[in-house]
Subunit: 244 residues, 2 copies
């Protein structure tokens, strides 16, 4: 049976990290929320699994993946599963832990990118926390993004098997996630990323190499790739970017 | 060789989740930063591993654990390692993923608890982001804590092997982490937790049961347990708690 991905409709969000892994691995999957409610899919199908009293192991939040009889939540956890079963992570314990460690740090970047536009509450609109967002985004671009990108640049530089991948000599889900973060940051903060991208040439090269992989390129050009937008995690509010 | 834990001195912080697992499992470990600089320990030993150009797989931030020739970072990743090797997680894939999924959600709580007093930047003092902290803490206590605690209450309730543990019929590192979060929230927000604790009796009972385990009780009574304080993740600023 095809895997079933459950994620909020209309945005890439955290679901995109799972989509990229499924696409690169060539795993058949259904993006359930994009299906028809009349056929048991759509948003109600997602909400049933989150709210359903009958679910023994309910996820706290999307994304979650139904696969091989399991219902798996938390982005890094889903990716660990996909990595192990679909050739997107090395098999040995040391490499597996290292890949997971990198992914968890990438998830931290995602959370901080989200909080640039929602520093106070996910229950409030952006306009209700705009003053705080301006302060937080400034700190994010001045301190956090350089630190995170510098870290991944160093990881690539120190990889004894070459700087083309974060772990070993082959693609892992961590590479896919780093691609997505660079793409998202470029969308949200084009001026800041034009400035910061020059300092991390290996990270930029990895982004470009992932985008050029045949399955990823085909996916990005397809309608399955939801466009970036201002309801997602990476949002372009011009006032949050570097000053012109 | 004894495991080596590296974490910032003087606070429980994220290192505490690792300490609790090591203590419960009875694993010999050295809390390196609390050792003497003259003997190669202390804070310089931690900074060497983070900044060292010679480290092939550097951690982004503490805590990290040196164990069996590995240098393992990210709290949930360290706990997955300890769970697998020291009887703090089930062996089967489904249970292992579920334990990790719960731990990642617990890590989200920790991050949000931290951001109540640092909603703008980790580089600024509390007083420099106090106005924003007041707003964020209100949302945290009104919306997020009830949602998180309600979720874990439901997980306990739905556990077919009983509501004494989050996963199966035996203790896992996720139980230890839930204990620490309840303890931390009670320290930081005593009035709010007096209000909210009544709604999650299973979570409260689990906290009490963990605290009463012989090794945990001995640890909590020892000098190895750093007291809660206002430099850690869970901080008591009276103005952030429920109004009197």
């Amino acid at each position: 049976m095809a895997y079933e991905l459950y994620y909020w409709p209309g945005i890439q969000g955290r679901g995109e990290f799972v989509r990229l892994a499924l696409e690169e691995a060539g795993v058949p999957y259904v993006d359930v929320v994009r299906g028809a409610e009349t056929e048991g899919a759509g948003l109600p199908a997602l909400l049933r699994l989150m709210d359903g009293k009958a679910i023994e192991r309910p996820p706290f939040a999307p994304p979650f993946l139904r696969a091989r009889g399991l219902l798996i939540g938390q982005t890094a956890n889903i990716l660990a599963f996909l990595g192990a079963h679909h050739g997107l992570a090395p098999a040995g314990e040391a490499d597996r832990l290292w890949t997971n460690q990198l992914q968890l740090t990438l998830c931290d970047v995602v959370q901080e990118a989200h909080d640039t536009h929602h520093p106070i509450s996910v229950s409030l609109y952006y306009d209700e926390q705009r003053a705080e967002a301006l302060r937080r985004a400034t700190d994010f671009l001045d301190n956090r993004v350089p630190k995170f990108l510098g870290y991944f640049e160093r990881v690539l530089e120190h990889n004894p098997e070459g700087d083309g991948h974060l772990v070993g000599a082959a693609l892992t889900y961590a590479d896919l996630s780093l691609f997505q973060i660079v793409a998202g940051l470029r969308y949200a903060f084009p001026r800041a990323m034009a400035r910061l991208g020059k300092r991390c040439k290996r990270v930029t090269a990895l982004h470009d190499a992932v985008a050029a992989r045949p399955r990823i390129a085909a996916y990005l050009a397809s309608e399955r790739r939801v466009p970036f937008c201002e309801q997602g995690i990476f949002r372009h509010y011009d006032e949050l970017d570097d000053p012109v």
